[in-house]
Amino acid sequence: MKRRGHKFWQAIALSFAAWLIICVGFAVWFKAQLSPEALGFLLDLFKDHFGPLLILAVLLLLVGALFLDSVLRKYIRPLRKITEQISLVNPTNPSHRFEIAGAAEIQQLCDRLNEGAAHYESLLNDIESRVNSARAHSEEEKNILAAIMSELPEGVIVCNPGGQILLYNNRARLLLSSLDDRSHEKSLRFIGLGRSIFEVFDENLIRHTIDQITAKLEHNEPDVVSYFVSPGAENTLLRAEAVPVLNHRRHFSGLILILSDITQQLESQNYLNLTLKSFTRGIRASFAGIRSAIETILEYPHMDATRLETLKQIIHKESLNIGEILKRDPTLSSHAMFNQWPLVRVAVRDLFEILQARCRQRIQLKIQMENLNAEHYVSVDHSSFLLALLTVIQQIQTTAGVSELTCRLTPLKRFVGLDLLWSGHPIKADAMRAWETQPLVFEKEGLSLTLREVIDHHHGEIGIYASRRLKNTFYVRFFLPVPYLIKPEKSRSLTILPESRPEFYDFDMFLQAGQHPEFENRKLAKLTYTVFDLETTGLNPAEGDEIISVGAIRIVNGRLLQNERFEQLVDPRRSIPWTSVRIHGIHPEMLVGMPTIDEVLPMFHDFAKDTILVAHNAAFDMRFLQLKEGQTGVRFVNPVLDTLLLSAVVHPSHEDHNLEAIAKRLGVRILARHTAMGDAVATGEMFLKFLPLLSQQQIFTLKEALAASRKTFYARKQF
């Protein structure tokens, strides 16, 4: 656009120069034609009438300049605006109409263009309504699917092999992340489209699950589903059922995780286990007394009367005791609910190999293996059982002070003994009993279950022994039953993707594993953005103004994700000037009990991780964030795009680049102006409308957008 402006002035300058050359040339030639007398006469004449002649020349120049200015204002500038706005109508806002001041011809041009635009708009609307009606049917199906998904009692997450989340339902979000649980920073996990599943689950766990599934697929096993248990939000325990998605060549191309909260089930199962155990043991003990006493009486009929009386009393007492125990029949209890925590068949060698790797990496403990062959299997929930093994290993390491351990497999009659051997100091049995009652913890991993609960769930036992063969050698043995080879009762059917695109959702991301290449050279439309806005107590962060509200929304693959929002009021720990309350409407009493900025910024930082930040007049917001770096320890190093600068890039001849003006130009409705969330949403919508306009100017990548923004910034600064 600027190039055209230059050309206009170049033409003016050239014609002026040509005019000057002609005048000077004529004057030189004319002078040569004149006799000295005639020249003298002319010069005298010129001198005598210099004033009027000068006035005449100035007037002529003035008229010329006025004429040029009017041409510029009435024709040239309106034409430039028209050119700019045509691109506005075409991809962005078809309802935009040209209202440009200018000459009558320009007005006529605008009228014709408006007619064309109206026609274009009606055509577009027509096409859109046709497309919409054609799509209505599939939309309906899609909505039904979405409704079913959101109403499912189980959480569902679908991710690609790289771990990027492609789909999730509300239940999954509730099970996994809770913003309110501020006391436990670790439980703060964000789940969102395009985010990594590893933010939610331990990476090793998922990798191990995928390895297991891949192995099962290779062996053509009918049941390829794998299970694991992982902590959920607010101290819950989740059971995840991992179902693979295969492509048409039966290659692994994604994972469906079906999540359910088993905290309650576990509690009732533990209750049931305990009740059943004490029930059976109680009856056994009492019955033993009765039987032994009566057998004694029968065998020795001539015993003395006192002894006979004692034995009779025993029989009476214990039969009453059995009556009491039977009243507590555990099957009558409402807690009697069997668990949904299935065990999976795993090769012992696999289990030990994982153990070996983790111990080497995490606690620098060397593990040797002994007596392992590939044929020994156990039925375990691999994550909780591994954690149990690791917890015990770490206890052995710290209690006995060893740096090396041997894992041994001892086949017993109907059990498998998984032995952890060490030589050196013995560990007392009561130490082991203390471990059994503590929740499992290994490094940063942990479960709310105790070692005893996990062992009981596996129908196993644990004991500590001294080796009879080797001197000063001790071992902890996990007894596990040898798994029965029975077919699983229910198995989920395999999901195999058709060769063409699936029907309902956009699973294009299946094709791109979740790598993070250089942001800068990636297409703007393919990047993930966090569009945000801050409300503050005032305009001067350096003079003590504070953030009181943060609103943000995510853009993934060119879509503004209305459900993936970050909205948080902040206690500024200072008063709020009335002048600012009038703008944002946040009254001090609304901020009572809200978290402070050092709690909110780390959360927001996590929310915005690995994305490009977008804000309107970003310099203002970034300044606030930067000034808080020292206090919160959180640094925002994300690339930043400013919609104010982008607006100036795409519409250089407009002077107004405030939020309202841009929104009006682009046909964006701001639903809640001057709330952090409302402004962030509007900014996001504007940003998406800028993308096609930027590509018209050959700006496709983040690098190019940043460069153009910088250039505009300096250009604007100079004015």
């Binding site: 059976t280 043991r281 109680g282 056994r284 003990a285 009492s286 019955f287 033993a288 007394g289 009765i290 039987r291 032994s292 006493a293 057998e295 004694t296 065998e299 020795y300 015993m303 002894r307 004692t310 034995l311 025993i314 007492k317 214990e318 017993l412 009659k413 109907r414 059990f415 003994g417 049995a429 009561d430 129908h459 196993g460 036992e461 644990i462 004991g463 500590i464 022994y465 001294a466 009879r468 043995r477 007894f479 039953p481």
Partner: protein
Amino acid sequence: MPKEILIVDDEPSIVVPIQFLMEQQGYNVIIAKNGEDALDVILKYKPDLILLDIMLPGIDGYEVCEIVRLNPDFRNVKIIFLTAKGREVEIAKGMALGADAYIIKPFSNAEVVAKVKELLEKTHEKTGT
């Protein structure tokens, strides 16, 4: 000299009939009501056989068994678990600790007597040869 048998159980309903039974068989019987007492008695009298319950107040039967087996002086002491812990895995655990037999409550008197005799005769044979 009559053989010494130690019964370790906190339940009189079990102790009384078993004690009578064993005395009728001609054994000397000592009683301990918990793990600590049992260990004291073992050190003092070095019994030939222990009838050991697992669920005891304080030190449990597993640990008593383990301590006894760690001491080479008591290598020949026979240990029979006499317990209501009847799950297979519990039996495996008990036997791995070095017990000689595992009797689950409820038991028949004849079963206990037979087991005790069998084990004590084995010792006799060993010491006799």
